[in-house]
């Protein structure tokens, strides 16, 4: 088997960060591809990135304050908002988006994508209750942000707990449990909100933002709380990366090794609840699940490694949140929640299309490569077999090839004189079916690839074309022989089977075939066909 080094394409987003020394860990620089490690613990490697993000958000004004004249261009105004408040909101949004993106990766990998949705919906009664309790204790203090968040967190966790309980101890399946808990808690929440609205002294204005979200309502003190919570979640994810990844991949194995899987699971749930709840106010509970899952799903199209997945999801989450908020600021009366989700979805769409790990374009390209290779092999084999069928009748070749007694087989004759015989398009059309666009197109491409040339009598293989044709036909027939000898398939049926397989035969399979059929690898003889050839 050929060993090819791991050449996973680096996502362009991540590439840009190499220069900041953020992405040193798994980078392919200098070290052997099989063993890569980094002297800096992974969690610490994120610090420069966080500092950079903070600087980018806070510093432009400081940097530009002196030099910028009073009338700056409106575009610059738009990108580098002047008010301190706006920038604080952006920083909070960035951290929120990043932590939600990172935590969302674990949810996606654990196949719990909808847990965020449950937390969001079940947070509503907690918010209402917290408000009510505070209002009853001392009127007017109900809108304390930390208290509302605590209420939301607790009732969110209770909601998740209910789902777990129902799934575990009743005959109700997970999807039904989700639907029940989600709607029940949301219903309770709405009912409590109505109660609040009807309170004589109740001032519930602003509670509604938890449903649809508005980033503008954040004040610096709230943002500080959000930033701390988000930074803590990020740090925890970095620290527990290995443990969470193991839990997501193989829970039973983790448990057999003595990891406290239940506690880890709870911690992960608490993280989800935390990032969901602190994000509620800016995107609203209806859309908060998108913030968790969209970055993770998008990042999956860019990498095959969970460590990079987390990094990319964090970046996508942070950047799309910031752009969403800027967008909502630029367009009057557009809420932040939908904007954040829409920018996130735009990133998702781009990833779905252009991601190198299973993106639509990449898949289409691979399909196309296989189609082209198939057509090329078909053409080479068709020419070979036409020449082979004619080998007996080509008097000159037979004369050249020695006495009757040890006369070479037609296959060997064909291999010998492959590049000297021309075939016409009519011959080729009679030999097999071609793609709908016709044999001519295949021939034209083959000519560009210099495996056939055109002459007066039709088309002729070049030397390279002849060599490849011999190889292709040999592989095809080895596979046919294998099917007949080892899989008991009738010789009349093997042609089609081999036709499908031969294009994907890798060298190690060929070697195994040669071993099974007692052919030496250096023995490049083409075995005779096991069935009638088209031209004979």
């Amino acid at each position: 088997m050929e060993t090819k080094p791991d050449t996973e394409p680096q996502p362009s987003l991540a590439c840009g960060l190499f220069s900041f020394g953020v992405l040193s860990p798994d980078g392919a620089f200098g070290q052997s591809p099989s063993l890569r490690s980094s002297p800096i613990p992974r969690p610490l490697q994120r610090i420069p990135f966080l500092l950079l993000a903070a600087w980018l958000t806070l510093a432009p004004e400081v940097a530009l304050a002196e030099s910028a004249p009073a009338g700056r261009s409106s575009l610059l105004d738009w990108i580098l908002p002047q008010q301190f408040n706006t920038r604080v909101v952006l920083l909070g949004t960035l951290l929120l988006g990043m932590s939600a993106g990172v935590v969302g990766v674990f949810m996606l990998l654990r196949r719990r994508s909808l847990v965020g949705d449950v937390v969001g919906h079940s947070a509503l009664p907690g918010i209402a209750l917290a408000f009510l309790v505070l209002e009853i204790r001392s009127p007017g203090t109900g809108r304390s942000f930390p208290a509302l968040l605590t209420g939301a967190f607790l009732s969110g966790m209770i909601g998740v707990g209910c789902v777990t309980f129902i799934r575990r101890w009743t005959r109700i399946k997970e999807d039904a449990a989700l639907a029940i808990v989600l709607s029940l808690f949301f219903g309770i929440g709405i009912a409590l909100f109505t109660v609040i609205q009807n309170l004589p002294r109740g001032n519930a204005a602003g509670l509604g933002q938890f449903i649809f979200g508005t980033a503008a309502a954040l004040v610096p003190a709230d943002v500080l709380l959000i930033a701390i919570a988000a930074a803590l979640s990020l740090a925890l994810c970095g620290l527990m990366f290995k443990e969470f990844a193991l839990l997501c991949f193989d829970e039973d194995f983790a448990r057999s090794q003595g990891w406290p899987t239940v506690a880890l699971d709870l911690l992960l749930m608490a993280l989800v609840a935390a990032v969901t709840v602190i994000g509620l106010q800016s995107v609203g509970l209806l859309l908060v699940v998108a913030r968790l899952i969209v970055p993770a799903v998008s990042a999956r199209f860019w990498t095959n490694r969970v460590s990079r997945l987390i990094l990319i999801a964090g970046i996508i989450g942070g950047v799309s949140s910031v752009f969403g908020v800027i967008l909502s600021g630029a367009i009057p009366r557009l809420a932040a929640g939908p904007c954040i989700v829409l920018t996130g979805s735009a990133v998702f769409l781009a990833s779905l299309l252009f991601g190198p790990q299973g993106g639509v374009v990449e898949r289409w390209w691979r399909d196309r490569q296989l189609r082209l290779r198939t057509a090329r092999h078909d053409l080479l084999r068709a020419i070979y077999e036409i020449v082979e069928a004619r080998a007996e009748s080509l008097g000159r070749i037979v004369e050249d090839s020695g006495s009757i007694s040890n006369r070479p087989t037609p296959a060997a004759l064909a291999a010998l004189h492959l590049a000297e015989v021309s075939v016409s398009e009519a011959d080729l059309n009679a030999a097999r079916t071609w793609p709908a666009s016709g044999v001519r197109k295949v021939l034209d491409r083959a000519q560009r690839e210099r495996i056939v040339v055109r002459d007066a009598a039709g088309w002729r293989l070049t030397t390279e074309g002849a060599a490849e044709a011999t190889r292709v036909v040999r592989n095809h027939r080895l596979w046919e022989q294998y099917l007949v000898a080892h899989a008991d398939i009738a010789p009349s049926h093997v042609d089609r089977d081999a036709d499908l397989i031969e294009h994907v035969l890798e060298p190690d399979v060929i070697a195994e075939l040669e071993r099974l059929l007692a052919q030496r690898p250096d023995d490049h003889d083409v075995p005779p066909s096991l069935h009638a050839l088209p031209g004979s």
Partner: protein
């Protein structure tokens, strides 16, 4: 008395028969080699790698394994054999405390499991995980080392070298950086085996490592098993292919909702015992189990 007890030969050891003989050991006749690392405890249990005493396992109150008594011998390869639904995987999961035990005690090397975890390695069924998970073969193998690496610490080069060595032992070093979904079924199974090898344990519990693997993987796994035996390790392997049992394994454990027989392959792997094992579930045992699941609501 059930049929399978009535017509048992001298080699057929049911759990009933065994209890009445007053012995708990299925040690082979040649003297048992001493434990590689003697464990100092005051326990009167034999220091067998795995010692199961009167274990019953139930899923949602429905018993799937009844009263199993078994002592695994040192340095032997043991095949766990039985029909579908016989409780083979359950046996392994129950001793590892992955499914709750309704009753009974289990000891490893004379100690409870939590004290000797690092001496026991588990190879789950390949189908138990999502192979589309975004990790490389090497990263999966490194998971076997996480316990020794410890909380919060990253997988450093030292550990990656160890993981690579384990991959080398199953002939998969060339595939270390492959994403696991790009491996064939047999290669994935070898990665799982390497993860257990990386633990450097003394007892290996493997759930169907030969299920659906290609010929070269089967050869690789068998040679790893024989290497383990050579270095004095013990392995319990859930195995489906009856034909290869005598060739691959020293001991067998025949299971069908209860222990039918256990001991050296030459003694126990007999047509009579196999008939007793595969002769269908015991009608009453299954029926009572079903009743217990319903909780008497008939």
């Amino acid at each position: 008395m059930p049929q399978w007890v009535a017509d048992r030969g001298t080699t057929l050891w049911s759990h009933h028969a065994m209890k009445s003989f007053g012995t708990r050991s299925f040690m082979p006749s040649p003297p048992v080699p001493p434990a590689p690392q003697p464990v100092a405890t005051g326990a009167e249990h034999p220091q067998a790698p795995l010692s199961i005493h009167d274990m019953t396992v139930a899923y949602h109150r429905r018993p799937v394994l009844w009263d199993v008594d078994y002592d695994a011998p040192f340095g032997k390869l043991v095949a766990v054999v039985g029909p579908n639904g016989a409780g083979k995987s359950t046996l392994i999961k129950a001793v590892l405390e992955l499914v709750p035990r309704a009753s009974g005690q289990v000891h490893f090397f004379g100690q409870p499991y939590r004290k000797v975890r690092e001496r026991v390695a588990y190879v789950p069924q390949r189908s138990s995980v999502d192979w589309d998970f975004p990790v490389s073969a090497l990263q999966v193998v490194a998971m076997g080392l996480y316990r020794r690496i410890g909380w919060f610490l990253p997988v450093t080069k030292k550990w990656k070298v160890k993981a690579l060595e384990a991959l080398e032992r199953v002939g998969m070093a060339d595939y270390a950086q492959r994403q696991i979904s790009q491996l064939s079924g047999g290669q994935q199974q070898r990665v799982f085996l390497a993860r257990a090898l990386a633990q450097d344990a003394d007892l290996y519990l493997m759930d169907e490592p030969f299920a659906g693997v290609d010929a070269s993987t089967e050869r690789a796994i068998v040679s790893v098993l024989w290497d383990l035996r050579k270095s004095g390790k013990t392995a319990l392997v859930v195995h489906h292919d009856l034909q290869t049992v005598p060739e691959y394994f020293d001991h067998v454990l025949l299971l069908n909702m209860r222990l039918v027989a256990a001991g050296p392959t030459s003694d126990v792997f007999t047509p009579d015992n196999l008939r007793a094992t595969y002769g269908g579930q015991l009608a009453l045992l299954a029926q009572v189990g079903h009743k217990m699941k319903l909780g008497g609501e008939t």
